[in-house]
């Protein structure tokens, strides 16, 4: 097994893939959240401001999903093939959600008619909720496990996805994005809309904490394989402690008016949540709920060592570049939203 800085390539690529997925959840998380609460804003002006708050960046945020898909395909082709063919139906629904989200943003502003804008508002709102729920459902199923046969192919049917656990993860994901999106909008809004976002941010934080606590309790009681690592390494309990601190910091910073720190805290919350999932499933990429021997791991699903090496080089060159221009774009559009002639 070839190694780089003491870790083998498969572990490295697991980390890179995890990093990309966390990046996606943090970045697309806030614009999906902003979209999922869209209909709670009832003024035309508020809706426009909320859309323009994500206008220049949502497309760039979605790139992380594309990079994540490519990363999984390249690094763990067996996992890529198994996951997407197994999750055929939920994934198709997810993709239709993505299409409608994109075109709703693009089309809404193009006509002044009330019915036109209302229709796209509804489409946009539903699409964002569907995307968040289906992402959560798939993540929940990956963690919980699905039936796989000896060829590492899906051996269940579409009903296999609807266990209580994935459904709880699904709702938690929506709550998380709503909180994250509302906090982002407090950064970008002023006056009465800001007051509303402030209130929503606090309410969604409560919603998230409740759903997270329920999901965690359920996991501890009913899903032993997702708690093994924590039982064996008590030092890992640092992660949930950090997460509680990060969540607690959110209302505190909002109260102080330091929204950037509140946003940072919710980004850290998302990252920690995914890190905890990653720690629990490692080294599995897809857990076989029927027979652990059929599981897909970072070793039996991996591309060749040569490809792993090439991929690491690509990641080492590419990631700083992407970080650089993502930062540049966010910096360009920092501050409160001001509508102008190019706005949606």
């Amino acid at each position: 097994m070839e190694t780089f800085l003491g870790l083998d390539y498969n572990v490295w690529w697991f980390l890179v893939f995890g990093g990309v997925i966390s990046g996606y959840a943090i970045l697309d998380g806030f614009d999906l959240g902003a979209g999922a609460l869209h209909l709670l804003l009832n003024k035309e002006q508020s809706r426009r401001i909320a859309m323009n708050a994500i206008g220049p960046v949502w497309d760039g945020n979605e790139v992380w999903l594309v990079i994540g898909g490519g990363a999984l395909f390249a690094g763990f082709p067996v996992a890529y093939a198994a996951i997407f063919s197994a999750f055929y139906v939920p994934f198709m629904i997810f993709m239709v959600g993505l299409i409608f989200r994109a075109v709703a943003i693009e089309f809404r502003s193009k006509e002044p008619m009330l019915w036109w804008r209302k229709t796209w508002d509804i489409v946009y709102n539903i699409a964002c909720i569907v995307i968040a729920l289906s992402l959560g459902l798939m993540l929940g199923n990956v963690a919980y496990g699905i039936p796989l046969n000896a060829d590492k192919e899906f051996a269940g049917n579409w009903m296999s996805f609807f266990h209580p656990f994935p459904i709880m993860v699904s709702i938690t994901t929506l709550a998380l994005f709503l909180m994250h999106g509302a906090i982002y909008l407090t950064m970008k809004t002023e006056n009465r809309l800001y007051t509303k976002m402030h209130l929503l941010a606090n309410n969604f934080t409560v919603f998230f904490v409740l759903s997270f606590v329920i999901t965690t309790l359920y996991t501890l009681l009913y899903i032993p394989h997702l708690c093994d690592q924590f039982r064996q390494n008590p030092s890992l309990f640092l992660l949930p402690v950090l997460m509680i601190l990060a969540i607690a910091n959110i209302p505190r910073q909002i109260k102080k008016g330091l929204y950037r720190y509140a946003f940072l805290s919710s980004a850290v919350t998302i990252a920690l949540l995914l890190i905890m999932v990653a720690v629990e499933i490692f080294p599995y990429l897809l857990y076989a709920s029927n027979d652990i021997k059929n599981s897909i791991t970072i070793h039996n699903a991996a591309a060749s060592a040569k490809t792993m090496k090439i991929l690491l080089i690509i990641a080492l060159i590419g990631t700083p570049l992407v970080g650089l221009y993502t930062a540049f774009v966010f910096w360009t559009f920092k501050g409160k939203v001001k509508l102008d002639e190019m706005s949606y």
């Binding site: 323009n52 990079i67 890529y80 093939a81 075109v103 490809t307 559009f333």
Partner: protein
């Protein structure tokens, strides 16, 4: 219908629909760089207005391109799981590289392109335009590399047996520069430039006929005409090189393209025709020995025919491949004739006075679109029955756990959604064109004030 045919229809449909948009954004990107460059150089407001106008159209096209492109990236996993496992090492690396090196660049700077006018200096804005254009060019590189590897695999070895066999990279650069990459990439790039240039020609020809925005439409038309003329001539050379490559690397495909069954001296080249698969005859207008001459520079040199290949290793829909290929060539020739004639009229100072020529340009926007689609279909159908030429058959590449009903469900869903998208796209494009390249300030002001005074708009 079984999973195989449904999956093939679904892939062909989703890729064909997707392939309307990226070539237009690549081509428009080039035109935007030229227009904005002219604006910075001359400081003339007309170039700024033209740039702003085309950026709005670019955004619309790009939006649908992205939405439909993400589907493509995951369709390999959903519908072609065995294929994904087989080519993961190669195809996956190209896709990952595309995401990180190209798509991220394009999407990142797109925000500045559309919303950054008042936030960054004009130089930074121009820089962003160049980055978006470069990003789209890079995207094409990786996607065409991935596809070309399927046509002419190189730089790999096969590991494992039977259903567990898969290709692994042995030489990354040999994989990237496989025998058909460069020819096919330049062919695709120029096809993309043409679709952008002809869109600009079409819209501006319409303005010229209607005598609207003339001060912007005339110079814009000329810019696009120069691009279109240069590219359609270059395409002749590049396209020929591409065909040469097919003859060398995929002889069965070349034979299918010309409906050429028997390996005889004096292979004919058809301008128009119909292939009868049963009698193995082609009827139509032909140049005797033309194919031999084109490939070997000699009218009497034999060209390998379809019958030289086992029945199971050659494509089935010979007539369709023949027709798609000839449709592409016909569109290419028409573009050359049209642009050269327009340039001649320009030299005689009669370009904008020839109304019928302007009308032809209005409708010519369809030519590069047909050429791109037909070329794509000829290339992909010509590769059958292989999904990876000579290595993996399409029928073996499917997802084994996905049922015909699931594919049918998603196919119907995509058909409905895409038709809706197409209608909305054409409606909004038409509206933007009708609105034209003028400032929106006045209109927005009116809209805002009418909203304030309109009781229905108040919540």
């Amino acid at each position: 219908m079984d999973v195989e045919i449904l999956s093939r229809i679904q892939f062909a449909f989703t890729i064909a629909f997707h392939y309307i948009y990226p070539p237009m954004s690549i081509g428009l990107g080039l035109i935007l760089v030229i227009m904005e460059g002219m604006y910075l150089k001359t400081g003339r407001k007309i170039y700024e207005d033209a740039t702003r106008f085309w950026i709005k159209i670019f955004a619309l096209i790009f939006g649908i391109g992205v939405a439909t492109g993400i589907i493509m990236e995951f369709e390999f996993g959903t519908n072609w799981a065995t294929y994904s496992k087989y080519v993961g090492d190669i195809f996956g690396s190209a896709l990952a590289a595309e995401g990180i090196f190209a798509f991220a660049l394009e999407s990142g700077f797109l925000g500045i392109l559309i919303f950054g006018w008042n936030r960054v200096s004009s130089r930074v804005h121009f820089f962003s335009t160049i980055m978006v254009f470069l990003g789209s060019l890079f995207s094409a590189i990786w996607i065409v590399v991935a596809n070309s590897w399927q046509q002419t695999p190189a730089g790999y070895h096969i590991v494992g047996e039977g259903m567990n066999a898969r290709a692994e990279i042995t030489d990354f650069w040999a994989m990237v520069f496989n025998p058909s990459s460069v020819d096919r990439l330049t062919h695709v790039w120029i096809g993309a430039f043409l679709s952008g240039a002809f869109l600009v020609l079409s819209v501006n020809a319409y303005y010229i006929i209607r005598k609207r925005h003339l001060e912007i439409a005339r110079p814009s038309f000329k810019i696009a005409l120069i691009v279109a003329t240069a590219c359609s001539l270059m395409q002749l050379v590049v396209g020929h090189r591409s065909a040469d490559g097919v003859a060398k690397n995929q002889p069965a495909k070349l034979a299918a393209i010309e409906g050429h069954y028997d390996t005889l001296a004096k292979a004919d080249m058809f301008l128009l025709g119909y292939v009868n698969n049963k009698t193995q005859e082609v009827s139509g207008l032909k140049i005797p020995g033309g194919l031999s001459f084109l490939l070997h520079g000699n009218f009497n040199e034999p060209v390998k025919g379809l019958n030289a290949f086992p029945e199971s290793d050659r494509p089935k829909q010979i007539n369709a491949i023949f027709q798609f290929y000839h449709m592409m060539v016909a569109c290419g020739i028409s573009m050359i004739a049209l642009t050269l004639f327009a340039v001649w009229q320009w030299k005689r100072n009669r370009l904008f006075e020839t109304k019928w020529l302007m009308w032809i340009f209005v409708f010519s926007v369809i030519l590069p679109q047909i050429a791109n689609q037909a070329g794509w279909f000829a290339a992909e159908m010509g590769r059958q029955p292989w999904v990876v030429y000579g290595l993996l058959r399409t029928s073996d590449a499917l997802s084994k756990t996905v049922t015909a009903n699931q594919v049918l469900f998603s196919l119907i869903m995509f058909t409905v959604v895409y038709m809706l998208l197409l209608v909305l796209f054409l409606y909004l494009l038409n509206k933007k064109i009708k609105h034209g390249p003028v400032s929106d300030h006045a209109k927005e002001d009116i809209e805002e004030s009418s909203k304030r005074n309109n009781p229905i708009m108040k919540q």
